[in-house]
């Protein structure tokens, strides 16, 4: 197994980690999987493509625009799709329906704007690859890895050490009790959506760069979903570990089996995890309330 393949896997894994944490964050707070996450990624990638990247403004402005778009789209989704359901303490089934509907809506809107064409982000770097000894790594991969890790580190700091993070964790464990301790749960849920939206925006741009930009790009959210299942639904460190594991596994399988079988093998791994260790790597703390 060459080091080259592992490195590619790590770069892919870092993008999956962004998706998986965005996914896990919402799962944590609301105890449901937000299936509109993928379409949010696509929408943000396209918004930033047309607003920024198309005008040749470089990678960082593009990421900023995508992150901002993500925050707005996620807030919109929270308000339109989830607020009422939350207030009524309705069953999780409604979140499921609501999030799928929202996702379809976003994807439809994107398709109306761009048709089913493929778009390419302009190449952001003069030197497409960096050579270290015999290794050749694409500059995009390196940047993707660095930026993703930086974003995840900031997120980890916020969750572990700030007032916002503490309140988010409290709301994740028990929304009602948190309210009675003076925490504005609605505001916290909005914050979770904003963070998740920003992560979705950044991930969307990276996916667009790595593959191409097309309206159903968001279906790659499945990778984030698999990663968070492997890691343990709702656990952020688990999601990140799962994402890197998945990224590496995928590239390794790709080089061994080719693209057809590697996809099947990936899903097989997820099924195996569900069979043997359904609580995931982290053994997550998602439990039924007494």
């Amino acid at each position: 197994m060459s080091l080259q393949i592992i490195l590619n896997g790590i770069a892919t894994g870092s993008v999956y980690a962004l998706i998986a944490t965005g996914f896990a964050l919402i799962f944590n707070v609301l105890k449901f999987s937000n299936f509109s996450h993928g379409a949010t990624m696509t929408a943000c990638a396209f918004i930033s493509y047309f607003l920024v990247a198309d005008k040749g403004l470089g990678l960082f402005p593009t990421l900023l625009a995508a992150g901002a778009a993500g925050a707005v789209v996620a807030l919109f989704g929270e308000f339109v799709g989830f607020r009422r359901i939350l207030k009524n303490h309705s069953s999780a089934t409604y979140f499921f329906v609501s999030s799928i509907t929202l996702g379809t809506l976003y994807e439809g809107l994107v398709t109306i704007r761009v048709g089913s064409n493929f778009f390419n982000f302009p190449s952001f770097f003069n030197k497409p690859t960096i050579g270290i000894g015999s290794l050749v790594i694409s500059t995009t991969d390196v940047m993707m890895f660095i930026i993703s890790v930086a974003v995840l580190l900031v997120l980890a700091f916020v969750i572990q050490n700030t007032r916002l993070g503490r309140a988010l964790r409290a709301v994740s464990f028990d929304r009602d009790t948190a309210q009675l301790m003076g925490i504005n749960s609605t505001r916290m849920i909005q914050s979770a959506f904003v963070i998740s939206g920003v992560l979705a925006g950044i991930a969307g741009v990276f996916l667009g760069i790595k593959y191409t930009l097309y309206p159903s790009l968001g279906s790659l959210v499945v990778k984030g979903f698999i990663a968070s299942v492997i890691g343990g639904l709702g656990s952020l460190p688990g999601a990140i570990a799962g994402a890197f594991l998945l990224g590496i596994l995928e590239t390794v399988l790709l080089s061994l089996l080719g693209s057809g079988y590697s996809t099947i093998a990936t899903f097989a791994v997820m099924l195996l995890f569900l069979l043997i260790r359904p609580q995931g790597i982290a053994g997550s703390n998602v439990q039924e309330k007494a």
């Binding site: 007032r163 503490r166 464990f173 009790t177 009675l180 301790m181 925490i183």
Partner: protein, 254 residues
């Protein structure tokens, strides 16, 4: 006006009248016991006062402010602390973090301060940590800052819940069966603790409890509930003599 004033609240769930015409006036330093058989609507009273439910009619005032229809977190911020019948600490957060959660809404710093360690934020965090330690010391749990509550005994968890409620800087403290599941020694310590905080901090305490020896020994006034109605109000001695109360608890003599 008293610190907490509840005026003729009613609350029904479908056909069940959980609270019928409940009123209470509690002032700083007072302890009010609420007793009654299971299903008498005691916890519903707490839930209605603290905003989990909205009263169908009637009014609730906290320190002169009408709070009847306010959202829960706003009521808490105005000075309502409470604990729960079944302990509801945040599992997965340390003891310190649990208590700090209740302080965070009061700490004043800006969005910028949330991201950067500005002097103001550092000062606020320090104030929060000190308060946290102070209240944990009062309940005798100061040595367990970094522990996870789920690893501690039931009695200890109850104390942490009280510390968390104190951290809300309450003007009124609602204690929902604080002695449930405690052994006799722990009940004794708890009685002592409630008495102490009532004197030391000076707020109104409402106490729901089944352990009569606890309620009777520390309450200034006792409200007896049965099937949603208040059947007696009085000092512990008066209540003990009350025929209707004895019937509610022991059944009628034929």
């Amino acid at each position: 006006m008293a610190l907490l004033e509840v005026k003729n609240i009613h609350k029904s769930f479908g056909g069940v009248k959980a609270i019928q015409d409940f009123s209470i006036e509690a002032d700083a330093g007072e302890i009010h016991g609420i007793i009654g058989p299971n299903g008498a609507g005691k916890t519903t009273i707490f839930n209605t006062i603290s905003g989990v439910y909205t009263a169908d009619s009637g009014e609730v005032y906290l320190n002169g402010t009408q709070i009847t229809k306010l959202e829960q977190y706003k009521i808490t911020r105005l000075g309502m602390g409470r604990t729960f019948q079944n302990i509801r600490l945040f599992q997965g957060l340390t003891v310190q973090e649990n208590v700090m959660c209740a302080f965070d809404p009061q700490s004043r710093y800006t969005v910028l301060g949330g991201l950067l360690p500005t002097p103001k934020r550092l000062a606020e965090e320090k104030r929060g940590k000190e308060l946290c330690e102070k209240y944990l010391e009062i309940v005798g749990m100061k040595d367990y800052l970094k522990e996870r509550p789920e690893n501690l005994s039931y009695g200890m968890q109850r104390r942490i819940e009280i510390a968390r409620a104190l951290m809300c800087e309450p003007k009124t403290l609602l204690l929902d069966e604080p002695a449930a599941g405690l052994n006799p020694t722990e009940v004794g310590e708890l009685t002592e603790l409630i008495r102490r905080v009532s004197k030391q901090i000076g707020f109104a305490i409402l106490l729901i409890e089944h352990r009569l020896e606890l309620v009777m020994s520390i309450s200034d006034l006792i409200h007896v509930q049965n099937f949603g109605k208040t059947i007696a109000v009085g000092t512990p001695d008066e209540v003990r003599q009350n025929q209707e109360v004895i019937e509610a608890y022991l059944g009628k003599e034929d």
